[in-house]
Symmetry: C2
Subunit: 374 residues, 2 copies
Amino acid sequence: MRQWGTMTATQTTVRVHNFSAGPGALPLPVLERVRADLLNHAGSGMSVMEMSHRSAWFEEIIQGAENDLRGLLGIPADHAVLFLQGGATLQFAMLPMNLRPAGASADYILTGHWSQGALKEAEKLGRVRVAASSEATQFDRIPSGEEMRLDPQAAYLHFTSNNTIYGTQWSSEPVPPPGVPLACDASSDFLSRPLEVGKYGAIYAGAQKNLGPAGVTVVVIRRDLLSRTPAHLPALLDYRLLAEHKSLYNTPPAFAIYVAGLVLGWLRAEGGLSAAARRNEAKAALVYRAIDESGGFYRGHAHPTSRSRMNVTFRLPSAQAEKAFLTQAAEEGLEGLKGHRSVGGLRASLYNALPLSSVDALAQFMADFRRKNG
Amino acid sequence: MRQWGTMTATQTTVRVHNFSAGPGALPLPVLERVRADLLNHAGSGMSVMEMSHRSAWFEEIIQGAENDLRGLLGIPADHAVLFLQGGATLQFAMLPMNLRPAGASADYILTGHWSQGALKEAEKLGRVRVAASSEATQFDRIPSGEEMRLDPQAAYLHFTSNNTIYGTQWSSEPVPPPGVPLACDASSDFLSRPLEVGKYGAIYAGAQKNLGPAGVTVVVIRRDLLSRTPAHLPALLDYRLLAEHKSLYNTPPAFAIYVAGLVLGWLRAEGGLSAAARRNEAKAALVYRAIDESGGFYRGHAHPTSRSRMNVTFRLPSAQAEKAFLTQAAEEGLEGLKGHRSVGGLRASLYNALPLSSVDALAQFMADFRRKNG
């Protein structure tokens, strides 16, 4: 097994090339910092896992994370930032519970498994409409503006900015009718590129792709929409209450917020979101070139105009070849390349923390494998 | 500042005596293990924070945690174990959503802030009754069996086994009417002593006292009660669905589950729950003795028959003396002794991971402080 390592004062760390779709790779300097401070954070004499969430140490951690997130995305003051639990799946329910008034309908654009999941949760609780869908072509692309049938009375228009399973991504946001807030599940491309947050009513993202470990979910929401929250929602499902308490109504997932804060600091140090977008573009270009130059040996799932820079999905000539690809890739230290169980095939996830050198290794492996098996 | 340390191969770690009410102290060997494996778990070449929750590595982690929990508590096969998110506060809502049929009422015993919180959440969603309360005496004790007015038709009877803020604890469970399931918020004394799980319909506990870091919540529920879950609950609030998927319906808080698993392994290695109970009893006895032998200088809040072995709450003759106590204690490396903001005073939390040596240091400090200021 060929692997890449980093030598620290204490040990040689053998690490793999991590193409996992999420939870995915974290930046090595972040992990090294977590390790260094694990028994004693900032001279507190405690681990972050052991300290009160009401302590000055944790106040600095969560406020620092919010400040860095605001700085990176340019989040306007009229948007609140929440650090919650339950992943995007809980947001699928919280969004309609909070933002869809009784009797109103919400619009959903279907571009894959997760947008279907969001629709399904919203359907349990009230009225929904499908504004557009690419299901007829196996979710191989993002619907065009002409295909959308938007409800001007919708409580909000919901879309999924990147489709992890199918490997498609919106290049720019859909445009909702005037007065209809745009709501986005950005779980799998959040912080991978700049975003005009002012265009959004609500953005939510599970952390475990580009932001940090699983267990914390970020919600960015325009404050005026908080007035829609109805009375008598359970406290942990109530955006307004959670915003009033600045995510500290009850004990938050403190360690996950701490690690996310370190990732945000790393992103800033690496040049912010424009620089991240350039790196991600370069990484994705390498893999798509390996596909496009393979003479049909590798077949990309996504229509070229809808290709994701986060998740590259492709097939090989046979299931047998795909199996051999995965086995031999693992022998080279290339991990997490198996496609989602619902669609099969291969998938290379190229989140922020995955270095270009890992993508180079993959592209080289793809060329070698094709030469031997093509 | 006097502190206790441990010398490892790589650094001297200065750690405080951590009396925090939660998140609280974790066992030092657990933290050292987390640190050692942080960049490369079990030869995977990844951190636990970076790996798929569908991987064989994580399957082993979550299954191992469940097995150790079952072994420690003797959980019968007819009880399911769930690892969820949102803390006890989300369970305050999920319990009635799942276990209280439409139109039915649930009984609550009020013994402090958190049982009031549980009642309040259940009240938002349907009918409740107060079966007993010690509010008239500032929650200084656990109601006796004679004080209870139990509803034989109740959907369940809910109690809070340990009251973190007031420092009281049930010495044995309340006895519900025949056929009424017993439901318990055990957040702050879970795993501190053996439990007859067969007596319970549902037990839930946020991890951040005796089990692990904040961000994971354990629910132990009798499987036949899962049939009560109504249709169309949001997925992340649906006990039945979450049990069917063995806590992997969506991405779980993987790292928190991993650390909890290490804590469970540590607890087994230290002799299990009977041994833990003996250690906790000895620790609590030291602090209560310092109170009882202080000639009234330290005044315990809890009635002696209801004293908690987890959280010892006490006052000093004046607010000024309490402030001086906290300042001087911190100078001696005794941290986290401030009482909850809602009641004031002092509180020493003595969870499993707090060593006897820390309690010795506190008892010694209490005696010294009284001598100088009494």
